[in-house]
């Protein structure tokens, strides 16, 4: 009965909401504009209105200034108007174009080219639930030049944003389809810092599948004044995207490019060749023997032999013999036995007889897995529109093959946007996009991935053995890397398919004179599946012997229903008032499924399914549900076009909070003063426009807390809580534990945000400048800090505990000027700074650490109070211990300082190892001497776009850079220290490691084993300057003369050549200073990053 009541209630509420709004619509009567009676005048004036591209513009309003005498252009852009004979001014206006005024002194012809120039102050900017003119903005809004932005040859809109919008930081790498980390104005949380995206009015957290060609405009709302209207989802900033609409006559546009991506050439990690590796090994063993008082002549190595006959082997392995010189009975090929697709597990593996010849020339593993790869994009768009509505349809095929073999992004997208003008006051329409994506990627983690294998696998190992099967590290003395080529080639059958339908339908009605009612129902449905096959391995020292098929699927939907009522009235050109109220409901559901099965009779990809293996089967699933309900209000008031005031408020309710704290209110106010409109400013001729803005408000955030945060829960998991209580050796029985500690009292966190900025237009519109300074304080930050071990390991609750702040400056400048009649320049520069500071982590610990990598037991990253996110933490190296006397002196001092005869200055100290700095000055090195060694957060980042046109040629170059950030180059852990696993080492290890006669070295002494004083704890050895300047994109285009094309029905044809990532200026010694950012709280570590590729492309834009 209760259920029934609820269901009825829910239904009834929907019905009533519909009735409420639906009922209102018919109320609107035909509202007739007041039309002054026009007295015919004798003098006609005619002309043609065209766009800047030369196309005729129908529907342009032509008005005689100061009167209501006007007309509109016809389908060919022509107009005719009767005017007074003594002359006057004609005003030409059309949505999307700058309004122009032309004076005339009498009858005749006035032709006008309408500029759709984005710099105009009248430019219409889509903000939260509203459309505003740029001059009226009081919040901090970055308007991105979409045309320039989308020139970047990538599939991800988020990647394209890099350097394009001041205040937006984009951190990504070169892997096709890998979404970058995007942050607006620093960090707001230890969790997800992704902004909210609002596409055609529908909020979403994912725009990875959005076709960049479909974007009409893109704005970034950065402060509370502009973004608080999105309330609890606004704290990370809001990116507003509007997709293209049709207008004018039917237009067919094709844009396409094809190109090649080129991996970096040369010895990218500065690795030693096989001969050098033998020498490095000899030196390391010799140094260790001497240090231990052993006879260096007694050293031996399973591959290089004994000291007396040290050298490269001819065979790495033959059966159970390793490091064989010359032919022996063991190397007889008839003994060879390997079954690459073995199904007999460890037992069968034990019967293999491998024979692998040494590759004395050395295998270049990087270039065996990174090869030139093509990139293609084809895009067709059809659009058009008129009085009755508009339509836009597009289709895109994008295929970026990864330079890393068997990685790629293939994506198909279609979009249909249409709007129907039912009558003068009612509009209905839809925007909908569908995408299908196949995107196998690798996950780079800590050297245990194919890129890591490439800087770990010894070069003496060939790709294949004597019979053409894979060769690898199997054999003592070759380390434990895996064959990177094998690892990548075995991914060949790994596929993924992601599909997503995203969009909305809307209806808008102008009711009475000043009200607009709008309802929009939108959302997404997605379904993703991927499958992978794990082949058994046989060539490595640490082989997986099982074969396994894994398939995962996730699907779900969410919907957002938004209803708004907007009021706009201008009172006597003095007061301009806009008011909006509304409601928004959001509901989201999702499921995940996963399964694995082992032991397949055949590895044929057409055979392997979850059902066809005969081994162990496991499966898992999860479901999620969450919802939000919001009330929205905003007021924008403009007095005399000089004084601007904005206020927004939103009340959000979230299913993630308990009943007591379910609702939060997020207000913001902002104001602007257009000083240039004041009389006293009129005399300043170089200042066309100047506005000072300021805003203050509170935003919320609930994205990070888990849906079940309210609840304390119990449950079991086979690997964790089940137990073989009956001692069967094979069966486990059901067990439970506490799985989650609930927090029903969590409340909304507050992101208190203030912003001050100015917008200026200088030199008659040649330069537009926008500068903002902001401060953000996040209090009651929802975080799930680590609890003392005494609490249990149940999932920790999110509590309102942490605090952090950010401040910074965003600046953007755009310039447009002509050097000559034909040579025109457009320059856009952006500058982004953020200063992030953690103020509180928990009531107990003042930090939390991450990224142990191979320093098991200690971490590279410390997020600590007083520092910015993801700081590098460890011991500061101040040099080498150059002789025993230095060590003895330090130890003697330490014993005095500590008054303890047992202490030493520094653990594991020895000649040739690092000397650490005694940070706390207590006379000896302890864990308290660890310090912040660097930060991956830049002092500033910047973008500079220079576009030039000369007659039919256009040229564009985009530079992006970061300054003042550090990189933790963990690759050097593997390559510069002999003792850190028996992989390949660097030339630095051989030619620039400490020796008694080479104390001015880079790396410590070559020795077996690791120590506190060399490589077993994080220290400053790995910290490098990560600043760089990169030519992200350069394009040279040529537009064919229009008269040449018109006879073929072609409106416009442009061809271009393009280069991406053409050059990079950096001091960073690694492969690429641009690193992917795995998580908010731990980034800036390079341990085999997927590098960005240089790209060369050729492209064409055609319009019919």
């Amino acid at each position: 009965m209760k259920k029934f009541t609820h269901r009825w209630q829910r239904k009834s509420c929907l019905v009533l909401m519909l009735l409420a709004f639906g009922g209102a619509v018919p109320l609107q009567a035909a509202v007739t504009a007041d039309k002054a009676t026009i007295k015919p005048l004798a003098w006609p004036i005619t002309g043609k209105v065209t766009s800047s591209a030369g196309e005729p513009l129908p529907g342009v309003t032509v008005l005689l200034k100061g009167t209501s005498n006007g007309t509109a252009t016809d389908a060919n852009g022509n107009y005719s108007l009767s005017v007074p004979e003594n002359g006057g001014t004609l005003v030409f206006s059309f949505i999307g174009y700058t309004t122009q005024e032309k004076t005339f002194s009498g009858p005749g012809t006035v032709n006008v080219t309408m500029a759709d120039d984005a710099r105009a102050l009248e430019e219409v900017v889509v903000t939260g639930y509203a459309v505003q003119q740029k001059k009226d903005l009081t919040g901090s809004v970055a308007v991105v030049n979409v045309e320039e932005m989308t020139k970047q040859p990538t599939a991800q809109v988020t990647s394209m944003l890099q350097g394009r919008a001041a205040g937006v930081t984009v951190v990504g790498n070169g892997q096709p389809g890998e979404a970058p980390q995007i942050r607006i104005r620093g960090f707001n949380t230890f969790g997800n810092n992704n902004p909210l995206y609002v596409v055609d009015g529908v909020p979403t957290t994912n725009i990875n599948d959005l076709n960049p060609n479909d974007i009409a405009n893109l704005q970034v709302l950065k402060d509370a004044g502009s973004a608080s209207i999105y309330g609890s989802r606004a704290a990370n900033g809001v990116v507003i995207i509007t997709t293209r609409k049709g207008k004018d006559k039917i237009k067919v546009q094709y844009d396409g490019y094809y190109g090649t991506q080129r991996p970096k050439t040369g010895n990218v990690w500065n690795l030693a060749n096989p001969t050098e590796m033998a020498e490095i090994t000899r030196q390391a063993l010799t140094n260790t023997a001497i240090a231990n008082g052993k006879d260096p002549a007694a050293i031996s190595h399973p591959q290089y032999g004994t000291a007396s006959n040290w050298g490269l082997p001819d065979y790495l392995v033959a059966g159970n013999s390793f490091g064989i010189k010359g032919e022996t009975p063991a190397t007889d090929p008839s003994l060879y036995r390997t079954n690459p697709n073995y199904t007999g597990g460890n037992t069968e593996l034990g019967t293999f007889y491998r024979i692998v010849e040494a590759n004395k020339e050395g295998t270049d593993w990087f270039h065996e897995i990174f090869r030139p790869a093509p990139i293609t994009s084809h895009n067709v768009a059809v659009s058009g529109g008129g009085d009755q509505g508009s339509y836009y349809f597009s289709a895109n095929y994008f295929n970026q093959q990864g330079a890393l073999i068997n990685t790629y992004l293939k994506r198909y997208t279609v979009r249909s946007n249409s709007q129907f003008n039912v009558n003068k006051n009612i509009r209905v329409g839809e925007n909908i996009g569908y995408s299908a994506t196949d995107n196998p990627r690798i996950t780079a983690v800590g050297g245990d991935d194919p890129i890591g294998y490439a800087f770990r696998q010894q070069p003496i190992i060939p790709i294949r053995d004597i019979m053409g099967n894979y060769a690898g590290s199997f054999a003592t003395g070759l380390g434990n890397s895996r064959n990177p080529v094998a690892a990548m080639e075995r991914r060949i059958n790994n596929k993924s398919l992601g599909t997503r339908l995203f969009g909305n339908a809307f209806a808008e009605a102008d009711i009475f004179r000043d009200f607009t009612l709008r309802t929009s129902f939108g959302g997404e449905y997605y379904a993703n599946t991927d499958n992978s096959f794990t082949f058994p391995e046989y060539e490595n020292s640490e082989n997986n012997t099982f074969n396994q098929y894994t398939q995962n699927a996730s699907s779900g939907y969410n919907w957002t229903w938004t209803n708004t009522l907007a009021y706009h009235k201008n009172f006597n050109e003095v007061h301009d008032l806009r008011v909006l109220v509304g409601t928004e409901a959001f509901d989201s559901r999702g499921i995940n499924l996963g399964g694995t099965t082992q032991s397949y009779f055949s590895f044929d990809p057409n055979y392997t399914t979850l059902g066809t293996g005969f081994g162990g089967q496991t499966n898992s699933s999860s479901r999620s549900a969450e919802s939000l309900f919001s009330l929205i209000g905003r007021v924008d008031y403009n007095l005399k076009d000089k004084y601007l005031l904005g206020a927004v408020i939103r009340r959000d309710g979230s299913s993630k909070f308990g009943a007591s704290n379910r609702y939060g209110v997020f207000p913001a106010v902002s104001a602007g003063w257009r000083i240039s409109q004041e009389e006293f400013m009129k005399g300043i001729s170089w200042l066309a426009d100047l506005k000072i803005r300021g805003g203050y408000g509170i935003m919320g955030n609930q994205i990070n807390i888990t849906a079940g945060n309210i609840f304390t829960t119990y449950g079991g998991e086979r690997r964790n809580t089940y137990y073989d209580i009956a001692g069967t050796n094979q069966n486990i029985e059901l067990g439970f534990r506490k799985t989650r500690i609930g927090n029903p009292d969590a409340k909304w966190e507050s992101n208190i945000n203030s912003n001050i900025g100015l917008d200026a237009t200088l030199f008659g519109g040649v330069f537009d400048v926008t500068v903002d300074y902001y401060r953000k304080q996040i209090v009651d930050l929802l975080f799930n800090p680590e609890l003392p071990g005494t609490y249990s390991t149940a999932e920790r609750p999110y509590v309102n505990i942490a605090e952090m702040k950010n401040s910074g400056i965003d600046a953007a400048i755009t310039g447009h000027f002509s050097a000559t009649q034909d040579l025109k320049f457009d320059i856009t520069g952006t500058l982004t700074t953020y200063n992030n500071k953690i103020l509180k982590v928990s009531n107990g610990a003042q930090n939390f650490d991450a990224e142990g990598r191979r320093f098991n037991g200690s971490n590279i990253i410390r997020n600590m109070v007083g520092e910015s996110m993801s700081s590098f933490f460890g011991y500061q190296i101040e040099g080498f211990w150059n002789n025993q006397a230095e060590i003895d002196a330090a130890n003697a001092q330490a014993r005095t300082a500590a008054d303890d005869a047992n202490v030493v200055y520094q653990s594991d100290v020895a000649v040739g190892r690092f000397r650490y700095t005694d940070i706390n000055g207590d006379g000896l090195i302890t864990a308290n001497d660890r310090t912040v060694l660097g930060s991956p957060n830049p002092d500033f980042s910047y973008g500079l776009n220079v576009a030039a046109t000369y007659r039919n040629f256009d040229f564009n170059i985009f530079l992006y850079g970061t300054q003042g950030n550090e990189i933790w180059n963990q690759v050097k852990w593997w390559t510069d220290f002999y003792g850190n696993f028996a992989g390949v080492k660097s030339k630095t290890a051989l030619y620039d490691s400490w020796m008694p006669e080479r104390t001015n070295a880079t790396a410590p002494i070559l020795e077996t084993g690791g120590s506190f004083s060399t490589s077993s704890v994080p220290n400053s050895y790995y910290v490098e300057n990560g600043s760089y300047l990169r030519a992200r994109n350069a394009q040279l285009g040529y537009t064919l003369p229009a008269n040449l094309l018109s006879k073929y029905g072609v409106g416009r044809l442009r061809v271009y050549l393009q280069g991406a990532n053409l050059f990079t200026i950096t001091k960073y010694s690694g492969l690429d200073p641009e690193l992917n950012a795995a998580t908010t709280t731990a980034f800036g570590i390079d341990e085999g990053n997927y590098p960005n590729m240089r790209q060369y492309l050729i492209g064409v834009n055609v319009t019919f």
């Binding site: 009735l19 709004f21 082989n543 162990g616 919802s627 309900f629 086979r718 690997r719 486990i732 077993s1016």
Partner: protein
């Protein structure tokens, strides 16, 4: 004309707004999905499942290569191969020098409180404690449990809790006590918890049945043996003896086998023969369960198999040269308790596998070849140990391979688990086996002056070692071990019980030394050595002698130094001190002399 429209519209909106809150509350109520509420577990079945969950924490594992704290599996291994055996000088860390460097500093007593391994161990064990407390706090809310069952559940839970605290006590000494009544988990470590551990084991002793329907459940006798061990650690020898006497006289296993030593020493280390009469308290391991992972298959020891071998990975936990030398026996088959390194066992350091090597020809205790794998001697039924080829880096960590937890080839399909890059196994970890009880009893008797009784217990252990069933024989066919063993011993074995009156002749100190040494030989590589050395008060002399001897041969322990009055206990994990602080003041106090 206009007015009515405004009114109607406003009214309609007002109605809509009125209605909305009604649906809003419902709309924003989302249940938690895929989890149980307390009401659902506060039942007889639920509480019993919580009890199984508390047993499941014994192996400290939760996922693929992951222990209960979220760290790597081996950081919290219940076998204490790192904290008990490597730290005790039984073994080297093994592998490459910089593989798992946190163990290097533990092995050399250079660890500082920031070592994350110690934090893992702490957290994993406290998870076990929290599971036992959960049983005790939820059980009163479950009305449908019969009183007798209630008693047994509580006794099992308190046995397990005492075991977990025992782990913490011997590792860290001063730790916070958390029980089912605790509401503030930020408890200080300023109270000795031995009385609490005693009380729990006493309760378990008083309330557990002698036998159980399922062999994995603890019983009365296991509780009594553990209580005796608790007394022994506190040097309460009389109380310890009282417990051990009863256990030795009357104890049975949960499956009702009278406690005794199995004939074959190796049967303690084989899944086919486990839960035998020697198994007092064991952690049940399982291979090839339905998880496609080795999480329940002694995952904490996944690294500890020979390298480039049929086990694939990972070459850790290499027995020390010092340990192997300890198995040298004299002409009478007796151990060389003092100065055993004077006549070291020949090894193959520096000799490539392809170059010839002949194993040691002197007399040895056969337990050696069930404890350490050495070149030229059958490695179970896997073939003769090939030396360097199975060793990851001999020049760093020595020539030997571990053996006790390694499964047999003949039954590998059943008892090994290959669902990871390193093997798992179904071989139980026996926390207390009867030989241990006998040697503990011998210790108590010696301390109480009953040397004859003590020698009797030691000789029971030695007699089993001397049983010909414990000799390792050569293969019929070295190239095909499956063909079985010959009757030719693989080495020159000679072991015998102490002659009558030997302990009396040695005196109390000498007898204790003999017992200590016997524990080393019998229980080597089983995670006990370090804790034994500490409670005997000889850790500094034994371990510093070890570093002097072993460090000169095998460099990975060079520079090791045990500092008396400091290294007896591991440092309280720095992370826990930080987490338990309020306004910069921690409720946890660091152990003495750690910085």
């Amino acid at each position: 004309m206009k007015k009515p429209r405004y009114i109607i519209m406003a009214a309609a909106l007002a109605i809509a707004m009125q209605i909305l809150p009604a649906c809003k509350d419902e709309f924003l109520e989302k249940p938690v999905l895929g989890a149980l509420s307390e009401e659902l577990v506060a039942t007889r079945a639920g509480v019993n499942a919580l009890l199984i969950g508390a047993y499941a924490a014994l192996d400290a594992q939760q996922g693929d290569q992951q222990n209960l704290s979220g760290g790597n599996a081996w950081e919290a291994s219940p076998t204490n191969w790192i904290y008990g055996s490597v730290a005790g000088g039984d073994a080297h860390k093994g592998s490459d020098g910089t593989d798992q460097p946190a163990i290097n500093v533990i092995a050399k007593f250079l660890t500082d409180p920031s070592n994350g391994f110690l934090n893992s161990k702490w957290r994993a064990v406290y998870e076990g404690i929290s599971r036992t407390n959960l049983i005790l706090s939820i059980m009163p809310k479950a009305a449908d449990i019969p009183d007798a069952e209630r008693k047994t559940i509580e006794a099992e839970a308190r046995f397990l809790r005492a075991h977990y605290y025992f782990e913490l006590k011997k590792m860290f000494n001063m730790v916070p006590w958390i029980d089912e009544t605790t509401t503030d988990y930020n408890q200080p470590n300023n109270v000795d918890i031995w009385p609490n551990i005693e009380a729990d084991f006493q309760f378990a002793t008083d309330n557990l049945p002698a036998t159980q329907a399922q062999v994995g459940r603890v019983n009365k006798w296991a509780a009594m043996a553990y209580l005796g061990k608790t007394y022994l650690y506190q040097k309460k020898y009389q109380e310890a003896k009282t417990q051990f006497d009863q256990v030795i006289a009357s104890g049975v296993t949960s499956n009702n086998l009278k406690y005794g030593l199995v004939d074959k020493f190796k049967d303690n280390f084989d899944a086919a023969t486990e839960n035998n009469k020697e198994s007092v308290f064991a952690i049940q391991m399982v291979a090839n369960d339905v998880t496609n992972s080795i999480a329940n298959a002694n995952q904490g020891e996944m690294l500890t198999y020979p390298y480039n071998s049929p086990f694939r990975c990972c070459g850790f936990y290499q027995p020390a040269i010092d340990l192997v030398n300890s198995y040298r026996t004299d002409a009478n088959g007796l151990p060389v308790v003092n100065n055993y390194n004077a006549n070291p066992v020949k090894n193959d350091m520096g000799i490539l596998s392809k170059d010839p090597f002949t194993p040691d020809a002197g007399t040895l205790d056969p337990r050696l070849d069930w404890t350490a794998g050495r070149r030229g001697i059958p490695y179970l039924d896997w073939g003769n140990h090939p030396g360097q080829n199975w060793i990851r880096e001999q020049s760093t960590a020595g020539p030997y391979s571990p053996k006790k937890h390694v499964y047999w080839k003949a039954t590998a399909d059943k008892f090994s688990d290959q669902h990871s890059w390193a093997p798992g196994s179904a071989i139980n970890y026996v926390v207390i086996r009867f030989a241990d009880v006998l040697l503990m009893a011998a210790e108590a008797e010696t301390q109480l002056g009953n040397l004859g009784q003590a020698q009797g217990y030691v000789n029971m252990v030695r007699a089993r070692a001397a049983n010909p069933a414990n000799i390792v024989y050569t293969y019929v066919d070295n190239n095909d071990p499956a063909k079985g063993f010959t009757t030719t011993p693989a080495a020159n074995y000679n072991v015998a019980p102490y002659p009558s009156g030997a302990f009396t002749a040695l005196g109390k100190e000498g007898a204790l030394n003999a017992i200590y040494f016997e524990r080393k030989l019998e229980l080597a590589m089983e995670g006990h050595r370090f804790f034994d050395l500490v409670r005997w008060g000889i850790a500094d002399q034994v371990l510093n002698a070890f570093f002097a001897y072993e460090g000169a041969i095998v460099p990975d322990v060079r520079g090791g130094q045990f500092v008396k009055n400091k290294n007896e206990y591991y440092p309280i994990p720095l992370r826990q001190i930080e987490l338990q602080s309020t306004n910069g003041e921690s409720s946890l106090t660091q152990n003495p002399n750690y910085r």
